[in-house]
């Protein structure tokens, strides 16, 4: 039995934006900014990883929002190896979003990998996910990434929409990928012209 070597990802579960597909396209920006109509837009600050105490905030946020369990070693593996590829979104003192990535050589290419992305349920549709992902990709581009890879649950429409809009393509369907038996999609963003595709080892 092959172990799951790479981490899984999931963003903004289904309930985040019910009926998101039917959204009116031209006014979608307003839609996303004007959360629940009356509430004013919260001021979100973004920062990268600084010190240990943040790790617990990351862990708490991700444990709450994602279905897959990660041991503390997994968090440390990513965050202490690539602290510059971990970004936070904060509302005041509260951590409301996080992205955790890595960047490594992979079969002759430099591959970025988005391991985890989570946004607090109460702060959805504020483009926090998009902003965090863009920051991470920007940094990985500076690190000369050729491509960026991630996995997400097939049924996670909001996440797929986010990545579609960033230019990712859904490369593969991974059957029964998650512990809960759900299928995953592997997504890729190609930052450079294709070189001949190497074999993907799952």
């Amino acid at each position: 039995m092959t172990e799951r070597i790479e981490a899984k990802i999931s963003v903004e579960d289904e309930k985040a934006s019910i009926d998101s597909e039917s959204e009116i396209i031209e006014s979608s920006k307003n839609d996303e900014l004007m959360k629940e109509g009356t509430q004013s837009i919260p001021q979100i600050d973004y920062s990268d990883f600084r010190e240990e105490s943040q790790l617990l905030s990351v862990k708490g946020l991700i444990d709450r929002e994602l279905s897959e369990p990660y041991s503390i070693y997994t968090y440390r593996y990513f965050i202490y190896t690539w602290p510059h590829l971990c970004f936070f979104a904060r509302h005041g003192d509260k951590y409301v979003g996080v992205i955790v990535c890595k960047l490594e050589p992979h079969g002759g290419l430099k591959r970025g990998y988005i391991a985890m992305l989570a946004v607090d349920g109460a702060y959805r549709r504020l483009k926090i996910g998009t902003t965090l992902t863009e920051k991470a990709i920007d940094t990985m581009v500076l690190g000369e990434a050729d491509e960026i890879v991630l996995e997400t649950e097939l049924t996670n429409r909001p996440a797929l929409r986010l990545y579609d809009s960033l230019g990712f393509i859904r490369e593969k369907r991974l059957k029964r990928y998650y512990l809960n038996g759900a299928d995953a999609l592997r997504l890729k963003l190609f930052l450079k012209e294709p070189i001949y595709e190497e074999e993907d080892v799952d």
Binding site: M1, I5, S22, K102, L174, L189
Partner: protein, 790 residues
């Protein structure tokens, strides 16, 4: 962890290789770990210095030793390991570290990090499923001693309950769950020979033997992936009693007869009859599956498959009777994870599972299990028909169809692969694959050089060239691989097809070479004055057409499978539908039309020849003569008519979707990627990258695509909608013209009709102020959606 991106201030090092996991079962030394690690690790083995080598994880002997023990007992053997308390040393060591710092082993990477289990975390720690007061799960012996399971004098209700639960376990195993966590939770399966009740003993023995046979069939077929099926299980348990596959049906029959005699003496035999039906179902299902394995030594495929079919028929007839009597058995307690009150110990193997996070195991409910079995028996019956398909073209069609209908079930897919390969071997003899392919080309477009009746077939030079070509086909494995790929699960098929398509290029080159050699020889023979041979060799495109046709099909399936697997974002639909519309479907139609024309010309020429010349008898093996027969049938002149019509419909539907996407995009109704990272050219190149290595069809560059699209999108939005509507209308016309259409055609018709209406509505300016992205509903057909406005 020697990543390139490793910053210099990286102070930490990861720790304690999977200590937590190992500690759960074995007790292993904890390396220096930060306070975050479970503090429960108090007792460590210190009789020697800790190193990677003696960590339980690395040492397979040690691992096996742990696993082979009945798991629950390890911890109780505390004194055996001379545990020593190192809590104090541990805390002292920790005080040297700053918060967040880890002691890291060189070999500790992501794999280890992800495999580490945090004790007491309910998502990671299997043990958290236990209550503090839970007793260890009973083994077979323990359950017998406790009186928790009966070995004799079981009531009919108890038997039915156990049988039905076991059927549910078999089904859950076939759905990809581990054998240990479903089947071997049944304690009766651990030691059937100790069961005194004959019906139960024989049934459990059958299940054990069935497991072995099913595994063999799946291994032989080789179309399984880790997500489909788990081959490995507790082999020690399985080996404990010797398999006796050939004796099983006899044993089942015997106990059935005994019970039937008993029934005759009862005033209310219904319950006992329900037991008999289950035994009988097991016998016939077993017989069918076992015979697939035996086919390899059979002399005639037909006879063997007929026997299998008969058994399946009986099994299918018994299933409704069984489903009606489910409630006569003992039922699982509500809320319990035990599939039956007696005989199961669901957690017995929890501790012997690989040290990863627990996967959720759900054993199917009984009615759903029998439904699965009913469908599976139906699929098996359908698979039996494969032996009628003795040439590549019709076999491939059968496989493609079968995969679409039965792609989810690993045993059904393996069953078909086994029947087919043995069938081919039995029909085509020793050099089966080569014969099979030769025969297939002959059936497909009937090159005279393959017609044993034709004198040119005996030309040694011709034979030599043919031999080289077909040997090459076999060595490249491309054709056989295509059929095999259809046996994999739908998600895996796509990757494998991408690689297959590349392989077609070399075969294409070789086929073209063979065709041109034939043409060259035609000239030679003409010069020699051998008009008959010259005509037969002239204008040959047989082999390249055959290869190209199959390549186009692989390309089309590859491209369209992306819809089924939900790999395409809506904004990508445009170029995906464009390619088959502009090129691929047209290529398929012309390959088939060309083939029909060749057949027609040959027919006419043959008629002409037979009038002017008495047929000189050709040599060749008697068996290979048969195929010439159908050619005499007038209907055979247009053997691809139906498929061509289908492709015409496909062409219009692709055209409709392509233009609809153009119109919707221009109308601002499609969400497009807005990011600076997006690059349509790269996406386009990626999507069509498997086609790039092919010489034919030549790759189409992004620039070409862009030109064509720009041209297409020039008219007004309303006009574009109207163009799309026109295509859907054409598709409708083609589909309506079909006689006795299959369900798929009716579904496509429905799609064409609906989209025609929707496009017209949009052409007339409906919902003009409201730019919503429509819904694309693929529930009718996996290739084409119904476009829905909201």
């Amino acid at each position: 962890m020697k990543g390139v991106g490793e910053p210099t201030d990286f102070q930490a090092a990861a720790a304690a290789t999977a200590t937590a996991a190992a500690a759960a079962t074995a007790g292993c030394a904890a390396a220096k770990a930060h306070g975050e690690t479970p503090a429960d690790v108090e007792n460590c083995e210190t009789d020697q210095d800790w190193n990677v080598g003696n960590c339980g994880f690395m040492d397979t002997d040690w691992q096996q030793k742990i696993r082979s023990n009945s798991a629950a007992e390890d911890i109780t053997q505390f004194p055996l390991y001379a545990w020593v308390n190192v809590t104090k040393d541990f805390h002292n060591a920790c005080s040297e570290l700053v918060p967040g710092e880890l002691a890291q082993d060189m070999l500790f990477g992501l794999f280890e990090a992800m495999s580490a289990i945090e004790i007491m975390d309910p998502k990671m720690d299997v043990g958290m499923g236990f209550d503090k007061y839970d007793l260890p799960p009973p083994s077979f012996e323990a359950a017998v001693t406790m009186g928790a399971i009966k070995l004799d004098d079981l009531t009919s209700a108890e038997l039915i309950g156990i049988f039905d639960a076991l059927f549910a376990c078999v089904v859950s195993w076939l759905e990809g769950n581990s054998m240990d966590q479903v089947l071997f939770t049944c304690l009766y399966l651990h030691a059937p020979s100790k069961i005194k009740d004959k019906a139960l003993r024989v049934f459990c023995t059958s299940v054990r033997n069935l497991i072995v046979i099913i595994k063999n069939i799946i291994v032989t077929a080789g179309v399984n992936e880790e997500e489909d099926f788990q081959l490995y299980g507790n082999s020690a348990l399985l080996a404990a009693e010797k398999a006796q596959p050939s004796a099983i049906t006899g044993l089942l029959k015997e106990v059935e007869d005994e019970l039937v005699r008993k029934c005759k003496q009862l005033t209310a035999p219904e319950d006992l009859m329900a037991v008999v039906h289950r035994l009988r179902f097991m016998r016939h299902l077993y017989q069918a599956i076992y015979q697939v394995e035996l086919l390899s030594v059979a002399e005639s495929a037909e006879e063997g498959v007929n026997e299998i079919y008969k058994s399946l028929n009986v099994a299918a007839e018994l299933l409704p009777l069984i489903r009606r009597t489910i409630d006569r058995g003992t039922q699982p307690v509500e809320g319990s994870d035990t599939p039956n009150p007696m005989g199961f110990s669901p957690r017995i193997h929890d501790r012997s599972q690989p040290p990863t996070f627990p996967r959720s195991i759900k054993i199917r409910e009984r009615p759903a299990s029998f439904q699965f079995l009913e469908e599976m028996v139906g699929r098996f019956k359908y698979a039996c028909k494969v032996i009628r398909h003795r040439d590549y073209y019709s076999a491939l069609n059968f496989f493609i169809e079968y995969s679409r209908k039965s792609g989810q079930c690993i045993l059904s897919r393996s069953f078909l692969q086994n029947l087919f390969t043995t069938g081919i071997r039995l029909v085509h003899g020793k050099q089966s694959m080569k014969q099979f392919l030769k025969y297939s080309v002959q059936i497909f477009n009937s090159p005279p050089v393959l017609n044993p009746k034709h004198p040119v077939a005996n030309d040694p030079k011709v034979q030599q060239h043919l031999d080289t070509f077909f040997r090459y086909c076999i060595n490249m494995n491309t054709f056989t691989q295509f059929i095999r790929i259809c046996g994999f699960n739908r998600a895996r098929q796509r990757d494998k097809l991408a690689r297959l398509i590349e392989n077609f290029d070399t075969i294409q080159v070789d086929a073209a070479r063979l065709d041109s050699l034939m043409n060259l020889m035609a000239n030679e023979r003409a010069l020699e004055g051998n008009e008959l041979h010259a005509t037969a060799l002239k204008h040959s495109t047989h082999f390249s057409t055959w290869v190209l046709y199959n390549c186009f099909r692989a390309m089309l399936i590859f491209l369209m499978s992306g819809f089924e697997l939900e790999l395409y974002a809506v904004h990508e639909f445009l170029y995906i539908y464009w390619y088959p519309y502009e090129f691929l479907v047209g290529f398929l139609v012309s390959a088939l039309t060309r083939t029909e024309n060749i057949l027609l010309a040959q027919e006419e020429y043959a008629e002409h020849q037979s009038k002017i010349q008495v047929n000189g008898g050709g040599g060749g093996a008697g068996k290979n003569r048969k195929p010439a027969k159908p050619k005499k049938n007038k209907k055979q002149q247009r053997p691809y008519r139906q498929e061509i019509v289908y492709y015409h419909a496909l062409l219009s539907l692709c055209g409709g979707m392509y233009k609809a996407m153009g119109a919707l995009t221009k109308d601002g109704r499609i969400r497009l990627p807005t990011s600076k990272f997006d690059n349509e050219e790269i996406r386009y190149n990626r999507r069509f990258s498997p086609f790039v290595p092919l010489t034919s069809p030549p790759p189409v560059s992004y620039a070409e695509f862009k030109n064509i699209r720009d041209h297409m999108m020039r008219p007004s939005v309303e006009e574009l909608y109207a163009f799309a509507a026109k295509h859907f209308d054409q598709a409708r016309n083609v589909l309506e013209s079909m006689q006795n259409p299959e369900q798929e055609m009716l579904d496509l018709l429905q799609i064409a009709r609906t989209n025609f209406v929707v496009m017209n509505v949009l052409a007339q300016g409906h919902q003009k102020g409201l730019k919503r992205q429509p819904e694309f509903d693929f529930s009718r057909h996996s290739y084409f959606p119904i476009i829905k406005l909201k």
